[in-house]
């Protein structure tokens, strides 16, 4: 454990998205770019006005963030041996191979071969995220596009919609986030945590800082000879090396198309037209009420709860989206107190605690969500009207983390697609599951709602409500790293 006060974070070297969701910036657009002329592309990126994590008063009218994909590094002329220091997941890419697609549940109609972008030759090189206060996007975007034309081709533009804090199914979204330890209050140590907490080590989200294990995640560290102008910060853990990762993060983007009419129509039909019942089921599937309130009795505010008080899933089913995506547990089952209890549970001798120990240590699997909705979703009543509305709507899901494998991919594959999550009898996420039968032919398209006075209620034959239309892994560099990578040569 270090006793010295840690270096403060260089907020002016961190892209703002790590710290802010830009919720005032209700207009947003994500540009997917391919490098046409590397020199021109680099020159533009070298001076790109990237917004930092320093708090600005008043809020700036516009904010821009820059991220680069694995193929993007090569297209910009970053040497291979340098790029090799990035994580394997990032370099391989979200649609890099069938095995990854299988693990992520990108199968069937969500398979990369059906994507609009992000697979094969259609991996964008650079992702520009544009955020603007109301009325400020259109002109800015047009002038940017003109500037970009010399170095890039515009592969696609992902428009977003302001749904006033809701996602297209109609639920309030963006309520729960890990609290990032910007002040570096959490001691650098590897110690079991007996309580679930929301404060998460900076190193879980920013490269170059200690993570929840008290360790520094791998990232490209350079011989100082490769950085003669000392553009890059030095690595905290290896001060003799320049740190290309420091203050950067990985960004995961997925275009998720939601079948809003499909969800509500199916539920209404199952409920025999009883719309209150349909809504209750939808809320059980998400794990929150439509207005965002928790289903856990005694929750303090929107996020003052965990599932210790609901060990049987009677209030929030085990399979609910938010319980899967963040099981809110500590390193040991809830209620591990005293040295004796700990030893027993450490050895697995507490039979009563074992069922709750199937999923543990959530703190290693947190993600910072920064997604935006797109399209014009129907409100539930419209969704039920004839003919059903068909306009494309959904979520440009974005999450940030220092370890794609342990964070996004783990949550997506082990918890969201995992059909035995927390001991469930065989079902994927009620919103996001791929619904395909297992290798033994057993269905995965049910949703179990436990109840105290009988066997689980089970909704079966759930249609596929969310389809992946595109996606990619990007590196969201620190500002100095961006300047280093794009410096004139």
């Amino acid at each position: 454990m270090t006793t010295t006060t840690p270096r403060p974070v260089e907020l002016d070297d961190v892209q703002g998205l790590l710290r802010f969701g830009y919720s005032h910036h209700t207009e947003a657009c994500f540009l997917l770019l391919r490098v046409k002329d590397p020199a021109a592309a680099r020159a533009w990126l070298a001076q790109a006005p990237v917004t930092t994590a320093v708090e600005a008063k008043p809020v700036p009218a516009t904010a821009m963030q820059v991220a680069i994909s694995g193929p993007g590094l090569a297209a910009l002329g970053i040497p291979d041996d340098l790029a090799a220091g990035f994580s394997e997941e990032f370099l391989a890419g979200m649609a890099g191979d069938e095995d990854r697609s299988r693990r992520l549940g990108d199968l069937d109609s969500s398979h990369p071969s059906n994507w609009a972008w992000g697979a094969g030759d259609a991996v964008p090189h650079v992702l520009l995220l544009l955020y603007a206060l109301p009325g400020h996007l259109a002109d800015w975007r047009r002038s940017l596009e003109a500037e970009l034309a010399s170095g890039f081709t515009l592969q696609a533009e992902l428009d977003t919609a302001d749904l006033a804090g809701r996602e297209p199914f109609g639920f309030r979204d963006g309520l729960s986030q890990p609290e990032v330890d910007w002040e570096r209050r959490r001691p650098v140590e590897d110690r079991d945590r007996l309580e679930y907490g929301n404060l998460t080590c900076l190193g879980e989200f920013l490269l170059g800082y200690p993570n929840e294990y008290g360790l520094y995640t791998d990232r490209p560290l350079l011989d100082p000879g490769r950085d003669p102008g000392v553009l890059l910060p030095r690595a905290e853990d290896r001060p003799e090396l320049a740190d290309l990762g420091r203050n950067g993060s990985y960004l995961v983007l997925r275009e998720l198309r939601q079948d809003v009419a499909g969800l509500w129509r199916w539920l209404a039909q199952q409920a025999g037209g009883d719309l209150d019942r349909a809504r209750d089921w939808a809320e059980a599937m998400v794990g929150r009420k439509l207005d965002g309130r928790s289903r856990i009795p005694g929750a303090r505010g929107l996020n003052g709860f965990d599932y210790a008080a609901d060990p049987e899933g009677l209030h929030c089913p085990f399979g609910a989206h938010i319980r899967r995506a963040n099981p809110r547990n500590a390193d040991y089952p809830a209620g591990t107190r005293g040295i004796l209890a700990r030893v027993r549970r450490f050895l697995g001798f507490d039979a009563g605690a074992l069922p709750q120990d199937l999923v543990a240590s959530t703190r290693f699997h947190r993600i910072l969500r920064r997604g935006r909705a797109f399209g014009t979703p129907p409100v539930p009543e419209q969704a039920l009207a004839e003919p059903p509305p068909t306009a494309g709507t959904g979520l440009h899901f974005i999450c940030l983390g220092a370890n794609i494998g342990r964070q996004f991919e783990f949550v997506q594959s082990a918890w969201i697609q995992g059909t035995r999550f927390a001991g469930l009898p065989g079902e994927g996420d009620p919103l996001l599951g791929h619904r395909l039968p297992g290798p033994d032919g057993a269905p995965s398209d049910c949703f179990s709602i436990p109840r105290a006075d009988g066997p689980d209620q089970r909704l079966c034959g759930l249609p596929h409500f969310v389809e992946v239309r595109g996606g990619g892994y990007f590196f969201l560099p620190g500002i100095r790293a961006l300047r280093y990578m794009t410096r004139p040569r």
């Binding site: 095995d99 993570n211 995992g418 035995r420 290798p439 109840r451 006075d453």
Partner: protein, 431 residues
Amino acid sequence: MTPQSPFLVVASVAAGREAGLRALLAEMNSAPGVVDPDNPVLPFGRFERVHFARLMVLDQTTMADLSLYGVSPPDLGLRLVLLGDCDGPARTLLDELAAGAEDGLRRLFGHCEGFDPGTGLAAWLHAHSRPTQANYVNWLGRTVCQIHEESALQRFLSARVPRMPVASGEARRRRRELIEAARAEQRAGRLRLSAPQPAPLGWWLGNLAHALGVPLLALLVSPMLLLAAPWFVWRLRSLERSDPEHCPPPEAGHLRALRELEDRGLTNQFTAVGPVKPGAFRHALVPVLLLAIDWGARHIFHRGHLARVQTIHFARWVVLDGGARVLFCSNYDGIHEAYMDDFINKVAWGLNLIFSNGVGWPRTDWLVARGARREGCFKKYQRAHQVPSQVWYDAYPGVTLNDMRRNRRIREGLEQGEMGEDQALAWLRLL
């Protein structure tokens, strides 16, 4: 109770036969990592006693790491390994395999040194069998047949139970109705619940002797151990400081070859192999630790969990080539990343205990601390030491250990006599 046992056959691949062997192994699969249980070479599915089995071509992976100590690695050549877990004794299983899949096994081992058309197959398999130094069985006595039967019972009852609230006082009646339905199914021959077989007396005696013998042995040598303890600690700590750590990232191609085989179902296989650190200290420590692990697994951890980990069906540690290297194999539920998560977060100490004697393991303290907790280093290390199993068989794909645990409780509840109202409701809620 029918005890489970590990079987293991190791043979050297004859010069120039590797490509043909690999092609033959690939023929057994319907897709990479997915064996056809009815394949013409070794139709595992026809042998009802087999839980899991795998065939692999074991090369010299990571033996070269011995050069970290300035030791030149021995030339171990290429091995064909057949291993698995079965109900009842391994010896008779090998006989059954030899009798029931003679042609295929001859084709397989025909790629090995010293095997010719005149070789007696069963005798050859026995002669090439190797002992398993430490073996873990998730639930001692649970047979393949029982797993299938209880799973069918659960499917039947879960499909039949009315998914509605049970009015108070109604649970016992509901349960009785379901039991009657199940009994009718049994009478019609559509459901079977075979009675457990008694374990052979010889097994009980052997097990008892092992249960008492190992602690007794420990007691006998304890005065010497006590005397040697200060030296042991000093030696261990100095080695822990000087042993090189070696965790380069696994090659992309190697990683792809491993991943291609993974996550095709709910259960996965894991095999890793690596050289033991040179020197008498580690070479003496490994067998002692394996004996202790084996004892713990046999007599303490045989009821559903290995310490905190509940997702391992079978695991084993095998010393190969006169102690030069250790092979670790397991079958586990869930994705690889979740398995590693359990390793790091729940039982890093247990891994360190044994694997820190392997060349390059992430630095440990006091044999159990740090090591696998060094997440990044550990993850690279395990992937680099992992080897693909060209053929892998699972007798019950789609049934996880947690499913089995629930199914067993369902069966117990079915076979139990009268229940109270609360107990009956709890049973209904399992369905």
